[in-house]
Each structure stands twice: as C-alpha cells, then as structure tokens.
Amino acid sequence: MVLAESIQHFPLFVGAFALAAALAFLQVLGGKRFRAFSPWSAILGMALLLVAACFEWHGMWVGGMAAFVEVARWWQSSQSHNEVQFGFFIDPLGILFVTFLSLVTFLFLAMSEYRKSAPVSPLTSAATVISVVGVLGVWISATIWMAYLGLGIFLIGQVFWGVSQSSKNIEESHFFERSIREIFLAMTLMVSGSAIAFDSSGYQRLDVYKVEVVTHALVWGKALFLAGIFVGFRPFPFLGWIRKLPPGALLQRSFIFQHLQGALFLGFLVRTLPAIEAVGLRQVGALIAVSLSLFSFTIGLFQRSVVKSFVAWISGGYLLVLFMLFSTGPRQAFLYFTGVLLASLILSRVVSEKEQPGETKVSATPIRFIVILGSILGSGGVCFVGTAPLMELFQSLQAVSVELVLLAFGFFLSVWLVWKVGIQALERSALNTWTKGAYVIVALWFLLGLAVLWTGSLSGGLLWGDFDRVGSAWILSYFAGATESFLDHPRFIRATGYYATCLILGIGVAYGLRHRWTILMARFPRFWAWGEKVLRLDELGQNGLRLLVQGAYSIEYWLAEKLIHFAAPALVLKAVVSMSRGIKLSDIGFLKAIDASARKSIQFGSRTLQAVQNGDVQWYVLMATASILVLLGYYCALL
C-alpha cells in the first residue's frame, strides 16, 4: 500500500458527515417544525454519506487505490506528543466501511418505516444517524484525537437515543441509563488506556506508530485499553441487559447496542492496530477474544428464550471478529463482521416477532427460505461472505495449534447456536408484519452478503484452484492478498476439511438436538437454570458496588453524627470558639490601633503640608515633568 503524505483532495465525505450530523442534530434539537420532516431527514443524511462515499471510491479508483492521509495540526507545541492532531486516513478499507455502514443504516431506517409493529420515532432515527456519524469518524481517523472525536459523537448519539426511548416507561429509562453507563465505562477505559499507552512513547500518526521504550505507563495503558475493548464489545458479563429485553425491541436495540457499538470499537481497533501491535497486545487480545466468544456462545446455548440466544450469538460473533482482527488482520475481520451484521439484521427481523405462548405456527415458505439463508450467512456458510475469512484463518493458523483449536470450537459453537436460533424462530414466526418493502430490503441484505461481491469467488474461496472466480471484483484490487494463500495444496485441503467439519457438525447438532434440547432442559432443570442465572452475574458486581457505596455512606454518616453530637462539642467546638473569641478581640484591637495611628500620622503630615504648600499643585507637576525631561536629555546624551 502506498502512502501519499501530501493532501490529494479534501475528503468529500468529511463534509457529508458534517451535513448528516447537522441534519440529525436539527431534528433532535429543532422542535416540532423539523420533526415534521422526519424520519426522512435521517434517511437523507445517510443517503448523503452514501453518495459522498461513492465519489470517494471514484477518486480512489482514479488514484490507483493509494491510501492518503490528511493531518490537521490543531495545537502545536515544541514537543511532538503535546500536539492535538485531527487527521483523516482515507484508505480502501475505510471507504468500504463508510459505504457499507451507511448503506446498511439507510436500509435499516427505511425498513423501520415499513414496520407496523414498532414505529420509530424521529428522535430515534436522528440519534441513530448521529451514532453512525461517530462510528464512521472513528473508521477514517488517522490520529488518536480524531478517534476520540468519533467516540464523543457516538456517545452523544447514544444519549439522544436513550432520551428518545426512556420517555416510554421507568423500566426503559433504567435500561438506557445502565447501557449508557456501560458504554461510558468502556470509552473511559479505552480512552485513558490508549492515551497512557500510546502517548507514553510519543505518537503522531496511528498508522506509523512505533514503540521505542517500554515503560510502566505503557503496561498500565495496555491493560486499561484491553479492558475497555472488551467492555465495549459487550461480551458475557455485560450481556445482562438482554434479561429484560422485550421481543419487539430486539431489532432496534441490537442495532444500537451491538452492531453500532461493535462497528465503533472495531473501527477504533482497526485504526490503532499498528499501535496495538507495537505495544504487543495482539496475541493476548486474540486469546481473550476467542475465549470470551466461546463463553458467549455457550451462554447463548443455555438460554430458553430465542431472543436471548440470538443476542448472545451476535455478541460471540463480534468477539470472533475481534479474534480475526488480532490474529490475521483488518480485512478478514471486516469480511466476517459484514456476514455477522447482515445475518443478524435478517434474522432479527424474524426472531423479533412477538412470542405467543401455547401457539405453534408453521412459517410460510418465503420465511423459511429467509431463515435458512440467513442462518447460512450468519454461520459463514458456503457462498456467503463469512467463508473467505474463515478459510484464510484456518490456513494461516495451522502452525498455532491452540488458536486453531479455539477457532474451530468457536466456529462450531457459532454454527450450532445460529442454526438453533433459526430453527426455533421458524417454529413461531408469522407473516402478518411483513410487507413488500421488508422483503425487498431483506433481499438486498442477502445480495450484500454474497461472497462473490466481496471476493470475486462464487464459493468464497472454498475450492482449490480458484476456478469458480467469476472475475476480479473491483473491491478485490484492495483485497488482493486473498489469492496468495491458495499456493499450498495440503494446507488448503486441511483448511477446507476443518471448515467443512465444523460447519456440518454444527448444523447437524443443531438439527439433531432441536427437540431433545428442550426435553433435556425439562429433565435437568437445575443444570439448565445456570444459563439463566449466569446472566445475573453482572448484577453481582453492580450490587457489590452499590453495597460498597452504601457502606461508605453509612460509615461517613456515623462518623459525622458521632463527631457533631459527642466529640465535637467537647473537643473541637470549644477550642474553635475560644480561638475565634481570642482572634476577634485581638483583631478588633489591632485594627483600631492601626486605624488610629494612620489617622494621626496623616493628620500630622497633612497639617504640616498644609502650611508648606502654596495651593498651585499644577506647578509642582510641571516642575517635576521638567526635571524628568532634563534627566531624559542627560540619559540620552549618555547613550
């Protein structure tokens, strides 16, 4: 990749960002007059971003796919690490993500328009747009300050979103308060960690970051940063919010709290990846990510409610994305992210149908197709976008046995869980909320998820020799590295074997256990209950914190009471009172003495002066001025 230091042109979508954000802010703050246009102004904002991204694509196509950086120094000092720099890093991956996310959000907002069951308020759509602008700001950041700016905009969007939803009832407002607290925690950890870790050795641009000296600050910063990442991805301990998730709200909430947050933190990591590599976080991060994803999938398997299983699957899927980012690179992570995001959008449309107990419905044929295709897409199945990164990972990780086993197990659990969710959803979805528009948008999502669009290969790189390549996809000129891994035949065959085994085993287990799973659940209720109970673990921490705070308050209260009623009068107050009396007396006397002496001295002086002066004070000044001028002349003659 060639990096051009100079500014080629002002990135167009920076302007589009500003415009989209301004539209959204107008909608939020502008009162009823602007809300009359909604939610079309939010959709218009997304369309603007999309058009700008297409222009950028054209520019990049003409410029030969060279990434360029534009850094604006905002405040400069003599030391380089004190600079505040806002820079845009425009590379194919960034533009691709901008295009993709604006398209998905555009369709998401449009689809919400087609929904009868849960109409979206104008505030909600505006807040979604603000959040998306924040995410995209992080994705095109060249400096850490730009990434922080994106995080800030995202947080504002989240707060607006919470405000727009919390007016419904008290439980909703508790939910949003909690979720915003969590994202704030994640951001604080990440920002402070990254500021400590990356600043301790002096940094300017994230893509050319180097570590010279390993310091204590670096180690602490790394630890905080890593903690922030994992809180931001909402792995298991932060999944407690799904316990009170109403089924109708799944689509909205998982979009805001999982997809957008996942995209945000993924963007932060993609942009800071050179820095993360330089401080030596990659391998640790990969292992933590894959372990947490295994845990999330397992939690999902033990949920009774299909919605909870599904949300746990999304969380685990994003952690797998994180694992791919750390172990191979941003390209694979992006492709798998695309698959998970699209599949979860498609499936959540089906899963979020309201559950009606005691009534089992058999779905119509189109819904069956949608669910089956969505499950294939989500599990990284053949012909869809998730195949390529998985194949590459299976090939590249063969030297690292621990990570290979963890990946295979994670992939298997992911397939199992998403098919379990799909099969459960099939049994109870109805057609009454589906309109033609919804079908069109779901079809578009499927199209976006096709492997051929992203990799140029029909099967997604599953076949040896690459003879199913229908032409080099235009995105491929950036993703060209994909073909290099097809050189080693035995390794390729082994990778195909791992992939196929996990996929088939996962689908088989999900299908084979579809009835037995519920029977097992009924037979061993105590064992299965842990799946529900384990979600309350996060409450343990919260309650612990609450107890701690209450304890501190009560101790403080007790101390204050005792001090004021018993100890203070005897010891402190008396001393203070006597001291203040003494000070008061001496103070007044002192002041009086000063006053009197000043008055006397002035009276004496003025009486004397009164006799001496002749009344023409102007003459004194004139004489003084004249003598000063003489002095000045003398001084100037000295020079």
Partner: protein
Amino acid sequence: MIYLISVILSVLGFVGIASSQSFIGFIVGTQILFFGFSSLFVFIAYGGGSQEPGLAFGIFILAIGAVYQAVSYALAARIYQRSNRVAISDLKRIRN
C-alpha cells in the same frame, strides 16, 4: 514602537491633570504621568541603551512619584476634612 506606550501614558496623564476639577482626578493623572516617564526610561534601557543608569532613573522617578502621591493624598484628606469636598481650588483656601 514600544516607546509609544510611554508617550501615550504621559499624554493621558497630562490630559487628566489639565481637565480634572477634582483633586483626586489630578492625583490619578500625575500617577499615570509619572508611570509613563518611568516606563520610558525602562524601555530605553532595554532597547539598547546603557541599562544601569536608565533603570536607576526609572526607579528614581517612580520613587518621586510615590512620595508625591503620598503627599497629595494627605492633602486631599485634609481638604476633605475642612470643606467636605475635594476640589483643586480648595487647596488655596487651606493655605496657612
């Protein structure tokens, strides 16, 4: 250019002295005038002149100014005691 500041201060001081009817205004004008002159010496000293004499003159003028202020304020207090107002014209009345 920096000498201009001193000149402006001195001119302001003169204007204050000339235009003021009140003795307090007169004192303030003198204060500004002296400050302007003393700063002129300081600026010349730092702008390439010999430093020690310049600074010495500046401090001297400032000291003279301070004494002048003290005397003037004492007289102002005396005028106020006698006639309940502080006008320059009253200075002649309190003579002797």
